[in-house]
């Protein structure tokens, strides 16, 4: 199971500290999803070896203009393993689910964002993972938290009904915000999302990372077409 994190300078802790904490909390990997305007300097290889945890490069594209977002997604697609779009407003939610080149639509219910059956079907068709973010459930209280829980439960209902692929995250900004997989599962169970679904959502990051790494490798031509190794008959 993998967790996705905002690292320093987008968050408060460096990628290395996040990795160390996530490794101790029981994750197999982290996805670094800093916003496009605050990239983190880090060396995934060294961190992977030191703390025995996979480090996946990624970006969360943040803008309110779909045509600019399209450009950003194109730029990052080559370099980053996982490309997410900062959701939470109707235009950007719609944009993200329509783009097969987008991996993840992040927190679609944040702000004045909403989700419905049309978006759920579109996302399923384009293979865009929709994110169930526990950010506000973990770190807000009172009315805002009630709203976040309501949004999350609604989103989960839609996603399971339309078989839309999804990812789950606690969306930590610092190592102190990071919660382990069992913690997220227990919390999910409490608000009405089965623990198996939480675990599936955390595992989905890994599936996504593996798929994209395979696509980034030199042997990849297009989905379903690979350069095989040549065995000459001599």
């Amino acid at each position: 199971m993998y967790e996705s994190v905002h690292a320093h300078p987008d968050g408060q802790s460096t990628v290395a500290r996040m990795a160390l904490t996530a490794s101790e909390a029981g994750y197999d990997g982290i996805v670094v999803r800093n916003h496009g305007d605050a990239p983190a300097p880090y060396d995934p290889e060294t961190i992977r070896e030191t703390y025995d945890i996979d480090v996946v490069t990624g970006v969360e594209v943040r803008t309110d203009d779909p045509s600019r977002a399209s450009g950003f997604v194109g730029n990052h697609r080559e370099k980053q393993t996982i490309v997410a779009v900062h959701g939470g407003d109707p235009t950007m939610n719609r944009f993200a689910v329509e783009q097969p080149s987008v991996d993840v639509l992040a927190h679609p219910m944040a702000g004045d964002g909403d989700f419905n059956h049309v978006l759920a079907r579109e996302a399923a068709e384009n293979g865009v993972r929709v994110e169930l973010s526990f950010r506000h459930v973990l770190r807000r209280d009172g009315g805002q938290r009630v709203q976040a829980i309501r949004g999350l439960v609604k989103l989960h209902e839609l996603l399971t009904h339309y078989d839309t692929p999804y990812v789950v995250t606690g969306d930590p900004d610092s190592h102190l915000h990071l919660r382990g997989p069992r913690e997220l599962a227990a919390l999910g169970e409490e608000i009405g999302i089965p623990a198996e679904d939480i675990e599936a959502g955390l595992a989905e990051w890994e599936t996504l990372a593996e798929r994209n790494r395979a696509r980034q490798s030199d042997a990849f031509v297009e989905p379903g077409v690979w350069l095989g190794s040549r065995h000459d008959d001599e």
């Binding site: 290395a16 996040m18 160390l20 961190i47 973990l138 913690e183 227990a186 919390l187 409490e190």
Partner: protein, 158 residues
């Protein structure tokens, strides 16, 4: 009052909880207990809070690292875990309470999960992101004082 006969006494489970915070946060048993009760009330309500009956049994915390044993009713450990996970701030300080494991007795809990305090951090200046800054440097973890509060780092970053 007379003790209950053994078969009627409540059964408990003891959760070993690791506590992490920024180095200058000052936590004590009372505040952590209070926030666990608030957290339970917010997440599972008065009824749920009474059912899981969280109680901080032993507690230690300094220099951003701590350990506690939290007691709950047997059969409520998942809900207790959810409540503990949802406590993110105590008296305005960010904290992480992480359940390390669950035991049936205090003693087993102590022997299996407690006493892992790392070497105390030393305070010195480190080079972080191109500037010298004061920091609390532990074996692996480094908390650097920056203009916008502490930044969490490790020995790989300095």
């Amino acid at each position: 009052m007379k003790h209950l006969p053994k078969h009627l006494r409540p059964r408990w489970r003891y959760l070993a909880v690791g506590i992490e915070s920024w180095p200058e946060a000052d936590l004590d048993r009372g505040t952590v207990q209070r926030h666990l009760w608030y957290g339970a009330q917010n997440l599972v309500g008065d009824v749920g809070s009474a059912a899981i009956d969280l109680q901080v049994m032993s507690f230690s915390h300094r220099d951003g690292y701590g350990e506690a044993i939290v007691r709950t009713r047997r059969g409520e450990t998942d809900r207790a875990r959810a409540v503990i996970a949802s406590v993110g701030r105590i008296d305005g300080e960010d904290v992480a309470l992480r359940v390390r494991g669950i035991s049936g007795t205090v003693r087993a809990c102590e022997e299996k999960y407690m006493g892992r305090r790392p070497e105390g951090p030393e305070q010195r200046d480190v080079a972080f992101r191109g500037a010298d800054r004061p920091a609390h440097v532990g074996e692996q973890r480094v908390d650097v004082a920056t203009d916008g509060g502490f930044a969490g780092a490790t020995t790989l970053d300095i």
